[in-house]
Protein backbone atom coordinates (compact mmCIF):
# COMPACT_ATOMS: atom_id res chain seq x y z
CA UNK A 1 0.00 0.00 0.00
CA UNK A 2 2.79 2.44 0.92
CA UNK A 3 4.46 1.68 -2.42
CA UNK A 4 1.25 2.64 -4.23
CA UNK A 5 1.02 5.90 -2.25
CA UNK A 6 4.64 6.80 -3.07
CA UNK A 7 4.16 5.98 -6.75
CA UNK A 8 0.96 8.01 -6.91
CA UNK A 9 2.58 10.99 -5.18
CA UNK A 10 5.25 10.98 -7.90
CA UNK A 11 2.50 11.49 -10.45
CA UNK A 12 0.75 14.15 -8.37
CA UNK A 13 3.87 16.22 -7.80
CA UNK A 14 4.53 16.78 -11.50
CA UNK A 15 5.04 20.53 -11.99
CA UNK A 16 2.10 21.12 -14.32
CA UNK A 17 -0.38 19.62 -11.85
CA UNK A 18 1.22 20.79 -8.59
CA UNK A 19 2.00 24.35 -9.66
CA UNK A 20 -1.27 24.61 -11.57
CA UNK A 21 -3.24 23.56 -8.51
CA UNK A 22 -1.25 25.81 -6.17
CA UNK A 23 -1.83 28.74 -8.54
CA UNK A 24 -5.56 27.98 -8.77
CA UNK A 25 -6.22 27.56 -5.06
CA UNK A 26 -3.88 30.44 -4.27
CA UNK A 27 -5.73 32.65 -6.72
CA UNK A 28 -9.14 31.65 -5.35
CA UNK A 29 -8.03 32.09 -1.75
CA UNK A 30 -6.51 35.51 -2.46
CA UNK A 31 -9.56 36.61 -4.44
CA UNK A 32 -12.21 35.64 -1.89
CA UNK A 33 -10.27 36.88 1.13
CA UNK A 34 -9.36 40.15 -0.58
CA UNK A 35 -12.98 40.79 -1.56
CA UNK A 36 -14.07 40.45 2.09
CA UNK A 37 -11.60 43.09 3.26
CA UNK A 38 -11.28 45.39 0.25
CA UNK A 39 -15.04 45.68 -0.33
CA UNK A 40 -15.92 46.02 3.34
CA UNK A 41 -17.66 49.33 2.67
CA UNK A 42 -19.33 48.26 -0.56
CA UNK A 43 -23.11 48.51 -0.81
CA UNK A 44 -23.07 45.42 -3.06
CA UNK A 45 -21.79 43.31 -0.19
CA UNK A 46 -18.47 41.57 0.40
CA UNK A 47 -19.52 38.01 1.14
CA UNK A 48 -21.48 35.21 -0.50
CA UNK A 49 -24.81 35.96 -2.15
CA UNK A 50 -24.34 39.73 -1.68
CA UNK A 51 -24.20 39.59 2.12
CA UNK A 52 -22.36 42.34 3.95
CA UNK A 53 -19.84 41.63 6.71
CA UNK A 54 -18.61 44.69 8.57
CA UNK A 55 -15.49 45.44 10.65
CA UNK A 56 -17.28 44.59 13.91
CA UNK A 57 -18.03 41.05 12.77
CA UNK A 58 -14.62 40.52 11.25
CA UNK A 59 -12.94 41.76 14.44
CA UNK A 60 -14.24 38.69 16.26
CA UNK A 61 -12.30 35.41 16.39
CA UNK A 62 -14.30 34.12 13.41
CA UNK A 63 -12.94 36.98 11.30
CA UNK A 64 -9.61 35.17 11.10
CA UNK A 65 -11.11 32.32 9.07
CA UNK A 66 -13.93 34.16 7.31
CA UNK A 67 -12.21 34.37 3.94
CA UNK A 68 -10.83 30.86 4.24
CA UNK A 69 -14.33 29.43 4.85
CA UNK A 70 -15.66 31.23 1.78
CA UNK A 71 -13.13 29.56 -0.46
CA UNK A 72 -13.82 26.11 1.05
CA UNK A 73 -16.45 25.02 -1.47
CA UNK A 74 -14.23 25.98 -4.40
CA UNK A 75 -11.37 23.97 -2.94
CA UNK A 76 -13.86 21.09 -2.96
CA UNK A 77 -14.53 21.59 -6.67
CA UNK A 78 -10.80 21.74 -7.42
CA UNK A 79 -10.38 18.56 -5.42
CA UNK A 80 -13.24 16.89 -7.32
CA UNK A 81 -11.54 17.71 -10.63
CA UNK A 82 -8.15 16.38 -9.51
CA UNK A 83 -9.48 13.17 -7.97
CA UNK A 84 -11.69 12.52 -11.01
CA UNK A 85 -8.97 13.15 -13.59
CA UNK A 86 -6.27 11.21 -11.74
CA UNK A 87 -8.55 8.20 -11.50
CA UNK A 88 -10.16 8.27 -14.94
CA UNK A 89 -6.91 8.99 -16.80
CA UNK A 90 -5.65 5.51 -15.93
CA UNK A 91 -8.37 4.20 -18.22
CA UNK A 92 -8.10 6.84 -20.95
CA UNK A 93 -4.29 6.60 -21.14
CA UNK A 94 -4.31 2.81 -20.86
CA UNK A 95 -1.90 2.98 -17.91
CA UNK A 96 -4.15 0.97 -15.61
CA UNK A 97 -2.82 -2.25 -17.11
CA UNK A 98 0.75 -1.23 -16.18
CA UNK A 99 -0.33 -0.48 -12.62
CA UNK A 100 -2.17 -3.78 -12.26
CA UNK A 101 0.71 -5.81 -13.64
CA UNK A 102 3.01 -4.23 -11.04
CA UNK A 103 0.41 -4.27 -8.23
CA UNK A 104 -2.26 -6.92 -8.87
CA UNK A 105 -4.32 -6.03 -5.78
CA UNK A 106 -6.88 -3.65 -7.20
CA UNK A 107 -8.10 -2.56 -3.79
CA UNK A 108 -4.56 -1.58 -2.81
CA UNK A 109 -4.30 0.51 -5.99
CA UNK A 110 -7.58 2.22 -5.17
CA UNK A 111 -6.75 2.82 -1.52
CA UNK A 112 -3.24 4.01 -2.36
CA UNK A 113 -4.61 6.44 -4.92
CA UNK A 114 -7.13 7.80 -2.42
CA UNK A 115 -4.53 8.24 0.33
CA UNK A 116 -2.08 10.00 -2.00
CA UNK A 117 -4.79 12.34 -3.22
CA UNK A 118 -5.79 13.01 0.40
CA UNK A 119 -2.22 14.13 1.05
CA UNK A 120 -2.35 16.31 -2.05
CA UNK A 121 -5.68 17.80 -0.90
CA UNK A 122 -4.26 18.47 2.57
CA UNK A 123 -1.34 20.42 1.07
CA UNK A 124 -3.83 22.34 -1.08
CA UNK A 125 -6.06 23.20 1.91
CA UNK A 126 -3.11 24.19 4.13
CA UNK A 127 -1.70 26.42 1.39
CA UNK A 128 -5.06 28.09 0.75
CA UNK A 129 -5.57 28.54 4.50
CA UNK A 130 -2.12 30.02 5.11
CA UNK A 131 -2.53 32.42 2.20
CA UNK A 132 -6.00 33.49 3.31
CA UNK A 133 -4.84 34.13 6.90
CA UNK A 134 -1.81 36.06 5.65
CA UNK A 135 -3.97 38.22 3.37
CA UNK A 136 -6.52 38.75 6.16
CA UNK A 137 -3.80 40.11 8.45
CA UNK A 138 -2.30 42.17 5.65
CA UNK A 139 -5.60 43.82 4.71
CA UNK A 140 -7.08 44.15 8.22
CA UNK A 141 -5.47 47.55 8.84
CA UNK A 142 -6.82 49.05 5.64
CA UNK A 143 -10.31 47.65 6.41
CA UNK A 144 -10.09 48.98 9.98
CA UNK A 145 -10.57 45.51 11.45
CA UNK A 146 -9.17 44.96 14.93
CA UNK A 147 -7.19 41.71 14.98
CA UNK A 148 -6.76 41.36 18.75
CA UNK A 149 -9.33 38.52 18.90
CA UNK A 150 -7.55 36.73 16.05
CA UNK A 151 -4.61 35.97 18.31
CA UNK A 152 -6.62 34.30 21.05
CA UNK A 153 -6.81 30.57 21.72
CA UNK A 154 -10.48 30.66 20.60
CA UNK A 155 -9.32 31.90 17.18
CA UNK A 156 -6.67 29.20 17.01
CA UNK A 157 -9.30 26.61 17.85
CA UNK A 158 -11.55 28.01 15.10
CA UNK A 159 -8.65 27.95 12.68
CA UNK A 160 -7.99 24.28 13.43
CA UNK A 161 -11.67 23.41 13.26
CA UNK A 162 -12.18 25.29 9.97
CA UNK A 163 -9.10 23.70 8.40
CA UNK A 164 -10.33 20.26 9.44
CA UNK A 165 -13.86 20.92 8.15
CA UNK A 166 -12.63 22.27 4.84
CA UNK A 167 -10.29 19.31 4.53
CA UNK A 168 -13.19 16.90 5.20
CA UNK A 169 -15.30 18.73 2.61
CA UNK A 170 -12.51 18.53 -0.01
CA UNK A 171 -12.19 14.81 0.71
CA UNK A 172 -15.93 14.34 0.20
CA UNK A 173 -15.87 16.26 -3.08
CA UNK A 174 -12.69 14.40 -4.07
CA UNK A 175 -14.18 11.00 -3.27
CA UNK A 176 -17.25 12.00 -5.30
CA UNK A 177 -14.90 12.86 -8.20
CA UNK A 178 -13.03 9.59 -7.80
CA UNK A 179 -16.27 7.61 -7.91
CA UNK A 180 -17.28 9.45 -11.10
CA UNK A 181 -13.82 8.76 -12.55
CA UNK A 182 -14.18 5.04 -11.84
CA UNK A 183 -17.70 4.87 -13.21
CA UNK A 184 -17.23 7.02 -16.33
CA UNK A 185 -13.57 6.13 -17.09
CA UNK A 186 -13.03 9.43 -18.89
CA UNK A 187 -11.49 12.49 -17.18
CA UNK A 188 -13.49 14.98 -19.25
CA UNK A 189 -16.82 13.24 -18.64
CA UNK A 190 -16.13 12.74 -14.94
CA UNK A 191 -15.13 16.38 -14.39
CA UNK A 192 -17.99 17.72 -16.52
CA UNK A 193 -20.62 15.63 -14.73
CA UNK A 194 -19.16 16.44 -11.29
CA UNK A 195 -18.89 20.19 -11.82
CA UNK A 196 -22.24 20.50 -13.59
CA UNK A 197 -23.98 18.54 -10.87
CA UNK A 198 -22.48 20.43 -7.95
CA UNK A 199 -22.43 23.95 -9.31
CA UNK A 200 -25.52 24.01 -11.52
CA UNK A 201 -27.93 21.11 -11.19
CA UNK A 202 -28.01 21.05 -7.40
CA UNK A 203 -28.71 24.79 -7.32
CA UNK A 204 -31.54 24.39 -9.82
CA UNK A 205 -32.97 21.43 -7.89
CA UNK A 206 -32.78 23.25 -4.54
CA UNK A 207 -34.39 26.34 -6.06
CA UNK A 208 -37.22 24.35 -7.64
CA UNK A 209 -37.91 22.02 -4.71
CA UNK A 210 -36.53 23.60 -1.54
CA UNK A 211 -36.88 20.43 0.51
CA UNK A 212 -34.42 18.53 -1.72
CA UNK A 213 -31.53 20.77 -0.66
CA UNK A 214 -30.75 18.96 2.55
CA UNK A 215 -30.52 15.61 0.78
CA UNK A 216 -28.21 16.59 -2.07
CA UNK A 217 -24.55 15.50 -1.86
CA UNK A 218 -22.90 18.77 -2.92
CA UNK A 219 -25.00 20.84 -0.51
CA UNK A 220 -24.04 18.58 2.35
CA UNK A 221 -20.34 18.44 1.42
CA UNK A 222 -20.27 22.25 1.32
CA UNK A 223 -22.09 22.45 4.62
CA UNK A 224 -19.39 20.27 6.19
CA UNK A 225 -16.79 22.76 4.98
CA UNK A 226 -18.70 25.61 6.59
CA UNK A 227 -19.04 23.70 9.86
CA UNK A 228 -22.83 23.41 9.55
CA UNK A 229 -25.48 26.13 9.74
CA UNK A 230 -28.76 26.68 11.60
CA UNK A 231 -30.82 25.27 8.71
CA UNK A 232 -28.66 22.22 8.11
CA UNK A 233 -26.80 20.64 10.99
CA UNK A 234 -23.22 19.39 10.73
CA UNK A 235 -24.30 15.95 11.96
CA UNK A 236 -26.98 15.66 9.30
CA UNK A 237 -24.53 16.63 6.56
CA UNK A 238 -21.96 14.19 7.85
CA UNK A 239 -24.48 11.34 7.87
CA UNK A 240 -25.80 12.15 4.37
CA UNK A 241 -22.29 12.62 2.97
CA UNK A 242 -21.11 9.33 4.43
CA UNK A 243 -24.17 7.54 3.09
CA UNK A 244 -23.55 8.84 -0.42
CA UNK A 245 -19.84 8.07 -0.31
CA UNK A 246 -20.20 4.61 1.21
CA UNK A 247 -22.86 3.51 -1.29
CA UNK A 248 -21.19 5.18 -4.29
CA UNK A 249 -17.74 4.04 -3.18
CA UNK A 250 -18.86 0.44 -2.71
CA UNK A 251 -20.42 0.30 -6.19
CA UNK A 252 -17.38 1.93 -7.82
CA UNK A 253 -14.93 -0.26 -5.89
CA UNK A 254 -16.84 -3.40 -6.82
CA UNK A 255 -16.82 -2.43 -10.48
CA UNK A 256 -13.13 -1.59 -10.32
CA UNK A 257 -12.35 -4.94 -8.73
CA UNK A 258 -14.47 -7.03 -11.09
CA UNK A 259 -14.30 -5.19 -14.39
CA UNK A 260 -12.00 -6.55 -17.10
CA UNK A 261 -9.17 -4.22 -18.07
CA UNK A 262 -9.59 -4.53 -21.79
CA UNK A 263 -8.27 -1.18 -23.04
Amino acid sequence: MIRVVIAELRKLRRPTLLLGTIATVGGLSALFTSIVFLMINSKDGNSKRGQHVGPAELSQATGLVYGFRLVGVFLGIVSLCIFASQTAQEYSLGTLRNLLVRQPSRMKILAGKFISMKIFALVMVLFAGALSIGISFALSGRAKVDTTAWRTSAAMHLLFESTLNIFIATLCFGAFGMILGLLLRSPISAIAVGVLWNLILENILSALITSTGKWLPGVNFSNLGEGGNPDLSYKHSMAISLAYLIIGGAIAALLFKRRDVAN
Partner: protein, 305 residues
Protein backbone atom coordinates in the same frame (compact mmCIF):
# COMPACT_ATOMS: atom_id res chain seq x y z
CA UNK B 1 14.84 -21.66 -14.90
CA UNK B 2 15.85 -24.43 -17.24
CA UNK B 3 14.18 -25.98 -20.22
CA UNK B 4 12.38 -29.13 -19.27
CA UNK B 5 11.26 -27.90 -15.85
CA UNK B 6 7.72 -26.63 -15.10
CA UNK B 7 6.36 -24.86 -18.19
CA UNK B 8 6.46 -21.08 -17.92
CA UNK B 9 2.91 -20.86 -19.24
CA UNK B 10 0.15 -23.42 -19.61
CA UNK B 11 -3.38 -22.93 -20.87
CA UNK B 12 -5.99 -25.64 -20.47
CA UNK B 13 -9.27 -25.08 -22.28
CA UNK B 14 -8.76 -21.38 -21.62
CA UNK B 15 -11.82 -19.50 -22.86
CA UNK B 16 -13.00 -15.93 -22.97
CA UNK B 17 -16.42 -15.11 -24.29
CA UNK B 18 -17.72 -11.60 -24.96
CA UNK B 19 -21.47 -11.79 -25.50
CA UNK B 20 -21.92 -14.24 -28.36
CA UNK B 21 -18.31 -14.08 -29.55
CA UNK B 22 -15.52 -16.29 -28.25
CA UNK B 23 -12.31 -14.25 -28.22
CA UNK B 24 -10.52 -17.45 -27.19
CA UNK B 25 -12.17 -20.84 -27.29
CA UNK B 26 -10.76 -23.80 -25.35
CA UNK B 27 -7.17 -22.71 -25.85
CA UNK B 28 -4.62 -25.37 -24.96
CA UNK B 29 -0.90 -24.69 -25.14
CA UNK B 30 2.34 -24.73 -23.20
CA UNK B 31 5.34 -22.45 -23.26
CA UNK B 32 8.46 -24.28 -22.04
CA UNK B 33 10.53 -22.48 -19.43
CA UNK B 34 13.63 -20.77 -20.80
CA UNK B 35 12.38 -20.71 -24.38
CA UNK B 36 11.51 -17.94 -26.78
CA UNK B 37 7.97 -18.62 -27.87
CA UNK B 38 6.25 -16.73 -30.65
CA UNK B 39 2.55 -15.99 -30.43
CA UNK B 40 1.06 -15.47 -33.86
CA UNK B 41 -2.33 -15.01 -35.41
CA UNK B 42 -4.22 -12.52 -37.57
CA UNK B 43 -5.66 -9.36 -36.02
CA UNK B 44 -8.60 -10.22 -33.79
CA UNK B 45 -7.57 -13.85 -33.39
CA UNK B 46 -7.44 -13.54 -29.59
CA UNK B 47 -3.74 -12.95 -28.89
CA UNK B 48 -4.13 -9.86 -26.72
CA UNK B 49 -7.12 -11.34 -24.90
CA UNK B 50 -5.02 -14.40 -24.07
CA UNK B 51 -2.12 -12.26 -22.86
CA UNK B 52 -4.48 -10.19 -20.70
CA UNK B 53 -5.89 -13.36 -19.13
CA UNK B 54 -2.36 -14.56 -18.37
CA UNK B 55 -1.65 -11.25 -16.65
CA UNK B 56 -4.83 -11.25 -14.55
CA UNK B 57 -6.27 -8.22 -16.32
CA UNK B 58 -9.33 -10.03 -17.56
CA UNK B 59 -11.13 -12.97 -16.04
CA UNK B 60 -11.44 -16.13 -18.14
CA UNK B 61 -14.96 -17.35 -18.93
CA UNK B 62 -13.72 -20.92 -18.62
CA UNK B 63 -10.72 -23.18 -18.45
CA UNK B 64 -7.56 -22.60 -16.49
CA UNK B 65 -3.97 -21.61 -16.87
CA UNK B 66 -0.72 -21.30 -15.02
CA UNK B 67 2.12 -18.82 -15.20
CA UNK B 68 5.45 -19.78 -13.60
CA UNK B 69 3.67 -22.68 -11.94
CA UNK B 70 0.96 -20.54 -10.30
CA UNK B 71 -2.70 -20.42 -11.27
CA UNK B 72 -3.75 -17.38 -13.27
CA UNK B 73 -6.52 -16.86 -10.74
CA UNK B 74 -3.80 -15.65 -8.33
CA UNK B 75 -1.74 -13.21 -10.39
CA UNK B 76 -0.23 -11.68 -7.25
CA UNK B 77 1.79 -14.89 -6.82
CA UNK B 78 3.64 -14.62 -10.13
CA UNK B 79 3.39 -11.06 -11.45
CA UNK B 80 6.37 -9.80 -9.40
CA UNK B 81 8.46 -12.17 -11.56
CA UNK B 82 6.83 -11.24 -14.85
CA UNK B 83 7.56 -8.32 -17.18
CA UNK B 84 4.99 -7.34 -19.75
CA UNK B 85 4.26 -4.90 -22.49
CA UNK B 86 0.71 -5.20 -23.73
CA UNK B 87 -0.74 -3.61 -26.85
CA UNK B 88 1.88 -0.93 -27.14
CA UNK B 89 3.40 1.33 -24.53
CA UNK B 90 1.03 3.33 -22.29
CA UNK B 91 2.57 5.97 -20.04
CA UNK B 92 1.79 9.36 -18.50
CA UNK B 93 2.43 11.95 -21.23
CA UNK B 94 3.34 14.78 -18.83
CA UNK B 95 5.99 12.73 -17.00
CA UNK B 96 9.45 12.07 -18.37
CA UNK B 97 10.45 8.59 -19.46
CA UNK B 98 12.58 8.30 -16.31
CA UNK B 99 9.73 9.42 -14.02
CA UNK B 100 7.34 7.00 -15.71
CA UNK B 101 9.71 4.13 -15.01
CA UNK B 102 10.19 5.33 -11.43
CA UNK B 103 6.41 5.22 -10.88
CA UNK B 104 6.39 1.57 -11.93
CA UNK B 105 9.58 0.75 -10.02
CA UNK B 106 8.12 2.21 -6.82
CA UNK B 107 4.85 0.40 -7.38
CA UNK B 108 6.58 -2.94 -7.88
CA UNK B 109 9.15 -2.38 -5.12
CA UNK B 110 12.13 -2.51 -7.49
CA UNK B 111 15.29 -0.48 -6.83
CA UNK B 112 15.23 2.93 -8.51
CA UNK B 113 18.80 2.34 -9.64
CA UNK B 114 17.41 -0.06 -12.24
CA UNK B 115 15.68 2.79 -14.01
CA UNK B 116 18.83 4.43 -15.43
CA UNK B 117 20.34 1.02 -16.10
CA UNK B 118 17.33 0.08 -18.24
CA UNK B 119 17.13 3.45 -19.98
CA UNK B 120 20.73 2.87 -21.08
CA UNK B 121 19.89 -0.68 -22.16
CA UNK B 122 17.14 0.53 -24.50
CA UNK B 123 19.23 3.47 -25.72
CA UNK B 124 17.15 6.15 -24.03
CA UNK B 125 19.72 7.37 -21.49
CA UNK B 126 20.06 10.78 -23.12
CA UNK B 127 16.28 11.27 -23.50
CA UNK B 128 15.22 9.87 -20.13
CA UNK B 129 14.49 13.36 -18.82
CA UNK B 130 12.25 14.32 -21.76
CA UNK B 131 8.50 14.14 -21.39
CA UNK B 132 6.94 10.96 -22.74
CA UNK B 133 4.65 12.98 -25.02
CA UNK B 134 7.71 14.23 -26.94
CA UNK B 135 8.92 10.70 -27.75
CA UNK B 136 8.76 9.16 -31.20
CA UNK B 137 6.84 5.90 -31.63
CA UNK B 138 10.09 3.94 -31.56
CA UNK B 139 11.22 5.65 -28.34
CA UNK B 140 7.86 4.95 -26.72
CA UNK B 141 8.20 1.33 -27.71
CA UNK B 142 11.70 1.13 -26.22
CA UNK B 143 10.46 2.69 -22.99
CA UNK B 144 7.73 0.04 -22.90
CA UNK B 145 10.36 -2.66 -23.20
CA UNK B 146 12.41 -1.02 -20.41
CA UNK B 147 9.31 -1.02 -18.20
CA UNK B 148 8.76 -4.70 -18.92
CA UNK B 149 12.35 -5.44 -17.87
CA UNK B 150 12.03 -3.64 -14.51
CA UNK B 151 11.47 -6.77 -12.39
CA UNK B 152 14.41 -8.59 -14.02
CA UNK B 153 11.71 -11.02 -15.10
CA UNK B 154 11.68 -14.80 -15.22
CA UNK B 155 9.00 -14.46 -17.86
CA UNK B 156 8.76 -11.61 -20.33
CA UNK B 157 5.53 -11.14 -22.27
CA UNK B 158 5.80 -8.76 -25.20
CA UNK B 159 2.89 -7.83 -27.42
CA UNK B 160 4.15 -6.51 -30.78
CA UNK B 161 7.44 -5.16 -29.34
CA UNK B 162 8.86 -4.09 -32.68
CA UNK B 163 5.94 -1.88 -33.74
CA UNK B 164 7.24 1.48 -34.88
CA UNK B 165 10.90 0.51 -34.63
CA UNK B 166 13.34 1.10 -37.45
CA UNK B 167 15.47 -1.84 -38.71
CA UNK B 168 18.26 -1.14 -36.23
CA UNK B 169 15.71 -0.86 -33.42
CA UNK B 170 14.23 -4.21 -34.46
CA UNK B 171 17.69 -5.72 -34.42
CA UNK B 172 18.31 -4.27 -30.92
CA UNK B 173 15.06 -5.76 -29.62
CA UNK B 174 15.99 -9.10 -31.15
CA UNK B 175 19.34 -8.86 -29.37
CA UNK B 176 17.68 -8.02 -26.04
CA UNK B 177 15.30 -10.97 -26.41
CA UNK B 178 18.13 -13.35 -27.25
CA UNK B 179 20.27 -12.09 -24.33
CA UNK B 180 17.36 -12.58 -21.95
CA UNK B 181 16.70 -16.07 -23.26
CA UNK B 182 20.40 -16.89 -22.89
CA UNK B 183 20.20 -15.86 -19.25
CA UNK B 184 17.24 -18.21 -18.69
CA UNK B 185 14.32 -15.82 -19.11
CA UNK B 186 11.30 -17.20 -20.92
CA UNK B 187 10.08 -14.82 -23.62
CA UNK B 188 6.54 -15.01 -24.95
CA UNK B 189 6.35 -12.61 -27.85
CA UNK B 190 3.61 -11.74 -30.29
CA UNK B 191 4.52 -10.05 -33.54
CA UNK B 192 3.13 -9.63 -37.01
CA UNK B 193 6.67 -9.66 -38.44
CA UNK B 194 6.80 -13.40 -38.88
CA UNK B 195 10.28 -13.42 -40.38
CA UNK B 196 11.46 -11.93 -37.07
CA UNK B 197 9.77 -14.66 -35.06
CA UNK B 198 11.12 -17.35 -37.37
CA UNK B 199 14.62 -16.11 -36.63
CA UNK B 200 14.35 -16.12 -32.85
CA UNK B 201 11.53 -18.42 -31.74
CA UNK B 202 12.06 -22.07 -30.91
CA UNK B 203 8.40 -22.51 -30.06
CA UNK B 204 5.22 -21.16 -31.56
CA UNK B 205 1.61 -20.82 -30.54
CA UNK B 206 -0.63 -20.01 -33.48
CA UNK B 207 -4.17 -18.70 -33.18
CA UNK B 208 -6.93 -18.36 -35.68
CA UNK B 209 -10.39 -16.98 -34.87
CA UNK B 210 -9.97 -17.66 -31.17
CA UNK B 211 -8.68 -21.21 -31.60
CA UNK B 212 -5.18 -22.57 -31.08
CA UNK B 213 -4.26 -24.16 -34.41
CA UNK B 214 -0.66 -25.00 -33.56
CA UNK B 215 1.43 -25.18 -30.43
CA UNK B 216 4.90 -26.67 -30.49
CA UNK B 217 8.40 -26.39 -31.87
CA UNK B 218 8.89 -24.02 -34.79
CA UNK B 219 11.01 -26.52 -36.70
CA UNK B 220 8.35 -29.22 -36.26
CA UNK B 221 5.78 -26.90 -37.80
CA UNK B 222 7.99 -25.96 -40.71
CA UNK B 223 9.28 -29.45 -41.41
CA UNK B 224 5.72 -30.79 -41.49
CA UNK B 225 4.98 -28.51 -44.41
CA UNK B 226 5.35 -29.75 -48.00
CA UNK B 227 8.64 -28.59 -49.53
CA UNK B 228 8.73 -26.49 -52.67
CA UNK B 229 11.09 -26.93 -55.61
CA UNK B 230 12.30 -23.59 -56.86
CA UNK B 231 13.49 -23.76 -60.47
CA UNK B 232 14.91 -20.77 -62.30
CA UNK B 233 15.49 -20.87 -66.06
CA UNK B 234 18.56 -19.18 -67.49
CA UNK B 235 16.39 -16.87 -69.60
CA UNK B 236 13.21 -15.38 -68.14
CA UNK B 237 11.42 -15.69 -71.52
CA UNK B 238 11.41 -19.45 -70.97
CA UNK B 239 9.36 -19.19 -67.74
CA UNK B 240 5.93 -19.73 -69.33
CA UNK B 241 7.13 -22.54 -71.59
CA UNK B 242 8.74 -24.33 -68.63
CA UNK B 243 5.68 -23.76 -66.43
CA UNK B 244 3.43 -25.32 -69.08
CA UNK B 245 5.78 -28.28 -69.47
CA UNK B 246 5.88 -28.98 -65.69
CA UNK B 247 2.14 -28.39 -65.25
CA UNK B 248 1.43 -30.91 -67.98
CA UNK B 249 3.44 -33.41 -65.95
CA UNK B 250 0.87 -33.00 -63.15
CA UNK B 251 2.61 -30.59 -60.78
CA UNK B 252 1.16 -27.41 -59.27
CA UNK B 253 3.29 -24.47 -60.43
CA UNK B 254 3.30 -20.76 -59.64
CA UNK B 255 5.64 -18.06 -60.88
CA UNK B 256 7.29 -16.02 -58.14
CA UNK B 257 9.87 -13.33 -58.94
CA UNK B 258 11.34 -14.93 -62.10
CA UNK B 259 11.31 -18.48 -60.75
CA UNK B 260 8.88 -21.39 -60.68
CA UNK B 261 7.63 -22.59 -57.30
CA UNK B 262 6.62 -26.22 -57.79
CA UNK B 263 4.71 -28.12 -55.13
CA UNK B 264 6.50 -31.45 -55.19
CA UNK B 265 8.74 -33.62 -53.07
CA UNK B 266 12.51 -33.33 -53.41
CA UNK B 267 12.56 -36.57 -55.43
CA UNK B 268 10.86 -34.75 -58.31
CA UNK B 269 13.86 -32.44 -58.81
CA UNK B 270 15.55 -34.78 -61.27
CA UNK B 271 12.37 -35.21 -63.31
CA UNK B 272 11.84 -31.44 -63.48
CA UNK B 273 15.47 -30.89 -64.51
CA UNK B 274 15.08 -33.52 -67.24
CA UNK B 275 11.82 -31.99 -68.47
CA UNK B 276 13.51 -28.61 -68.78
CA UNK B 277 16.44 -30.18 -70.67
CA UNK B 278 14.05 -32.00 -73.04
CA UNK B 279 12.30 -28.67 -73.75
CA UNK B 280 15.66 -27.08 -74.55
CA UNK B 281 15.66 -24.92 -71.42
CA UNK B 282 18.75 -24.55 -69.24
CA UNK B 283 18.09 -24.06 -65.55
CA UNK B 284 20.36 -21.56 -63.82
CA UNK B 285 19.34 -23.02 -60.44
CA UNK B 286 17.11 -25.65 -58.90
CA UNK B 287 16.65 -26.14 -55.17
CA UNK B 288 14.32 -27.67 -52.63
CA UNK B 289 13.15 -25.26 -49.89
CA UNK B 290 10.81 -25.47 -46.94
CA UNK B 291 8.10 -22.83 -46.81
CA UNK B 292 8.85 -19.86 -44.57
CA UNK B 293 6.89 -19.26 -41.40
CA UNK B 294 5.01 -16.53 -43.22
CA UNK B 295 4.00 -18.89 -46.03
CA UNK B 296 3.06 -21.56 -43.48
CA UNK B 297 1.08 -19.04 -41.47
CA UNK B 298 -0.89 -17.93 -44.51
CA UNK B 299 -1.45 -21.54 -45.49
CA UNK B 300 -2.72 -22.44 -42.01
CA UNK B 301 -4.79 -19.33 -41.34
CA UNK B 302 -6.15 -19.19 -44.86
CA UNK B 303 -5.13 -15.53 -44.99
CA UNK B 304 -3.06 -15.01 -48.12
CA UNK B 305 -3.40 -11.24 -48.37
Amino acid sequence: MNKGSTPAITATDLTKIYGERAALSHGNFEVPAGSICGFVGPNGSGKTTTIRMLLGLITPSGGSGTVLGESISHPEKYLPRVGAMIEGPAFYPALSGRENLKVLAELGGFPLSRVDELLAKVDLADRGGSKFKTYSLGMKQRLGIAAALLPNPELLILDEPTNGLDPSGIQEVRGIIRDLADSGTTVFVSSHILSELEMICEYLVMLREGKVIFSGRTNELLSAQKPIIVAKPEYEVDLTKLADKISSAGYKVIVVEGALHISASSEASAEINRAAFDAGITLSSISVVLPTLEETFFEMTGDNK
